[in-house]
């Protein structure tokens, strides 16, 4: 492993072997990358000193432009310039068109949001990957070496499809994901460590395209999310849209706006919004498509009246989140503000009134999420082995499956702490039924049409029985990233089906591998070499960990036969890992894993027992 450990310039490699890890805030409007350097988490600027990378990607015939330079051309080249692509992750074309009717993009497919641009077709995962790649490049240039891993943040409200899309984009960008972290949790980490507080904290996160409210309990370094709520389609962009509509009506422009004019008005609306956080009146000036000049005066009162219903919606979600956490407003000791849209004074004031306390704004609301993510990345990559910090997230939306009559049966309720595994039993409804379709859904509503469809799979080979006699156990497992795995088993026959849930409008694993191969950065041999190296790293990780575990507990927890079997498999693995057959290495790892699984479980149980020994006497 030594060849992968990197020291900071000026420091010796021993004993401080720092590994490079970053936190990335993949935002709707802007994205950032941050890293812990000399004990402090800081956002990394580009060569021109800019920290924010606008989440805008412009496709030319033979090149890609990312960030500010792309954003500047958005008005002149709207259909090739993808803005706020985060809104499209894990969504169907119809979802997107319903939510954003005025988009300038050419969707080539009726289901999956593939967009035609100058260089060909691109999907939201690929566009997001371009942004991540740019940030990765920036980090590697600044930090001077290859990254070992990244924590990428997502809105707490993101469903499985949106999380999976984000993870796929990271993979496509060549980033090793240490964890998908909820944005509000990241923000609380950024503040929590600074002030060392304990108690209930509310994180109000109003970004460009999403709104999240999270209620957290901080105690001895553990950040426990108690409840979360919000709206994955409400944000500052909606303020802009309302302003555009107001400007359109005030200038008596009728009919649908041209793509160009819409873009112009959107830019003007953003200008007005920013100006109105300091001034009480702002005048928008522009020329329409016929060259006619328009001038529209917008007062702060008018602006606040326009956005008041949206802000009220966010407060409604705050109240619900408190209720879900079974807390009252006065138990909240701090309110953390996140997201560029919290710069709007009216938002801050309304939130302050609701919680009856001034919100925290000392960390730049645009940077706070990436800073928290960087702190978590530094810990997960292993730079702070003694850290007590632990982040416990919850499932934002209930998971269920379709039952008779188009209804959903919830298997895991929202706000359940993750990781979580739950099983539910179902039965057949016809005599002799040999197959059952399992339709996995996410959402709170009763009817399946009101929930998001995550996946459908069929459990085949059920032995024919009378209706109601088969016992089909469906198990949902959600990992710490909030990603779902589903398996189904018929109990009497043991027939099984298992799928990793892949979003209906996302990508298959094979597609990602294809895209990785096709991407310009890696020639085929490089790709092969990279995959071999990854397998070898995993092999040495398995060897080191297991050897250390055997030295510590092998004597106590393993039968001689078991111990010998594991040692043989380890020996085999170390031989195979010296070669260059990645499939063989993978198989050897799997063999070791299989033989040592029971040992790993016993060690876990042992660690729990020994932690409690010493206190058990007075408890029982």
């Amino acid at each position: 492993m030594a060849f992968l450990q990197i020291s900071e310039p000026g420091q010796s490699t021993v004993p401080h072997q720092r590994k490079l890890a970053v936190g990335i805030d993949l935002g709707t409007t802007n994205s950032l990358v941050a890293s812990v350097r000399s004990g402090e988490a800081l956002t990394l600027p580009d060569s021109q000193g800019r920290h924010l990378l606008p989440s805008v990607v412009r496709y030319l015939a033979d090149s890609v432009v990312i960030g500010q330079e792309a954003k500047q051309q958005a008005s002149t080249d709207p259909s090739n310039t993808i803005i706020s692509v985060k809104r499209f992750l894990g969504r169907s074309v119809q979802d997107i068109k319903t939510a954003y009717p005025n988009l300038p993009y050419q969707f080539t497919d009726s289901l999956s949001p593939v967009m035609a641009v100058a260089s060909g077709n691109v999907n939201p995962v690929q566009v997001s990957a371009q942004i991540l790649k740019e940030l990765k490049k920036r980090a590697e240039q600044t930090l001077g070496d290859e990254l070992q891993g990244a924590v990428v943040t997502v809105p707490a409200y993101f469903d499985d499809a949106q999380r999976q899309g984000t993870k796929d984009a990271a993979e496509l960008a060549g980033l090793k994901i240490l964890r998908l972290l909820n944005e509000p949790t990241a923000a609380a980490v950024a503040y929590g460590l600074d002030s060392g507080q304990e108690g209930i904290i509310a994180v109000y996160d109003l970004g460009g395209g999403t709104f999240d409210i999270s209620i957290l309990r901080l105690s001895k370094g553990v950040f426990e999310v108690l409840s979360t709520g919000g709206d994955s389609a409400l944000g500052g962009d909606d303020f802009d849209a309302l302003l555009v509509e107001f400007i359109r009506q005030s200038s008596e422009l009728t009919g649908e706006l041209s793509k160009r004019l819409h873009r112009v008005l959107l830019d003007k609306a953003k200008e007005a919004k920013e100006a109105l956080s300091e001034e009480s009146v702002y005048t928008v000036q522009f020329e329409d498509d016929t060259g006619k000049h328009h001038s529209v005066v917008i007062s702060i009162d008018k602006f606040e009246k326009l956005i008041a219903p949206l802000v009220k919606n966010t407060l409604r979600a705050c109240r619900r989140a408190l209720k879900d956490a079974q807390l009252e407003k006065d138990q909240v000791i701090e309110v953390v503000m996140v997201g560029g849209s919290t710069r709007v004074p009216f938002v801050c004031q309304q939130v302050g009134e609701f919680f009856e306390r001034s919100p925290l704004t000392s960390i730049d609301p645009d940077k706070v999420v990436s800073i928290g993510a960087a702190i978590q990345a530094d810990i997960l990559v292993g730079n702070k082995p003694d850290s007590d910090m632990l982040l416990l997230d919850v499932l934002p939306l209930s998971l269920g499956i379709e039952t008779m009559g188009g209804l959903t049966e919830k298997v895991i309720q929202r706000n359940t702490t993750i990781p979580v595994a739950k099983a539910q039993e179902f039965t057949t409804f016809k005599d002799g039924q040999t197959a059952m379709m399992v339709h996995v859904l996410q959402g709170e509503r009763e009817l399946i049409k009101d929930c998001r469809s995550l996946a459908k799979f069929t459990l085949k080979g059920i032995p024919p029985m009378a209706a109601g006699a088969a016992h089909i156990r469906v198990t949902f497992q959600v990992d710490a990233d909030g990603l779902l795995n589903v398996s189904a088993m018929e109990k009497s026959s043991g027939v099984q089906a298992e799928i990793q849930v892949k979003p209906s409008y996302g990508l298959e694993d094979s597609e990602i591998a294809e895209m990785l191969k096709a991407s310009m950065d890696y020639a085929d041999e490089d790709m092969q070499a990279r995959m071999l190296k990854e397998q070898q790293v995993e092999a040495s990780r398995v060897q080191e960990n297991l050897q250390a575990a055997m030295d510590a507990d092998g004597q106590a927890l393993l039968e001689t036969v078991e111990k010998q079997a594991i040692e043989m498999a380890l020996l085999n693995l170390s031989e195979v890992a010296k070669g260059n057959d990645k499939e063989a290495i993978k198989a050897a790892i799997e063999q070791v894993d299989k033989l040592s699984q029971a040992f790993a479980q016993r060690r876990m149980d042992q660690s729990i027992k020994s932690a409690f020994s010493g206190q058990s006497v007075d408890r029982i």
Partner: protein, 175 residues
């Protein structure tokens, strides 16, 4: 390891609710997958499974209803997938009364305070049912186990009423 053993407490309906969160944190530190971020895939998988168990145990143990249900399941009485109906007519009458009151509450002169007094009434019923449940669960007589199961079924109705009252409260207070 059952959930009580996992949390290092005696198998009993009485649980020290101030200790439980502390033990939970301790178990989180031992089992959360983030603590195995540099481990092998196998270590992570074992951690996810154990940690999921810790999370489930915590949610079961902290609420009296699910704790009682779990206690009975340890004694071989499974209430989760049953289709048993309640035959206690007095209880059923009471339920119908509550439901009628809730349905008509919006027409009252002061619906919010009417809702509050209904809520108080149900909370009282829940409280006395929980006391009853504690006594029944302390006994090891089979008939008491049956009665405990009946009380749990009734409690489920009462808790459901409470959540419906909360929903109504949201509607009435226009937030």
């Amino acid at each position: 390891m059952n959930y009580f053993e996992l949390f290092n407490i005696p198998v009993s309906f009485d649980v020290d609710l101030s200790e439980l969160p502390k033990t939970y944190q301790q178990l989180q530190r031992l089992t959360h997958p983030d603590k195995f971020a540099s481990g092998s895939d196998q270590d992570k998988l074992v951690a996810i499974q154990k940690n999921a168990q810790v999370n489930d145990a915590y949610s079961v143990l902290k609420s009296p209803l699910s704790r009682a249900e779990y206690l009975l399941s340890l004694r071989g009485i499974d209430l989760q997938h049953e289709q048993q109906t309640i035959k206690d007519t007095a209880f059923l009458m009471q339920q119908m009364e509550w439901r009628e009151e809730l349905a008509e509450i919006a027409d009252r002169t002061d619906p919010l305070s009417a809702l509050e007094s209904l809520e108080d009434e149900i909370k009282q019923t829940i409280k006395s049912d929980l006391t009853k449940l504690r006594h029944l669960l302390e006994s090891d007589q089979a008939t008491d186990e049956k009665s405990a199961a009946d009380v749990i079924r009734q409690l489920k109705f009462s808790y459901k009423m409470l959540s419906e009252i909360e929903l109504k409260e949201d509607l009435l207070s226009d937030l």
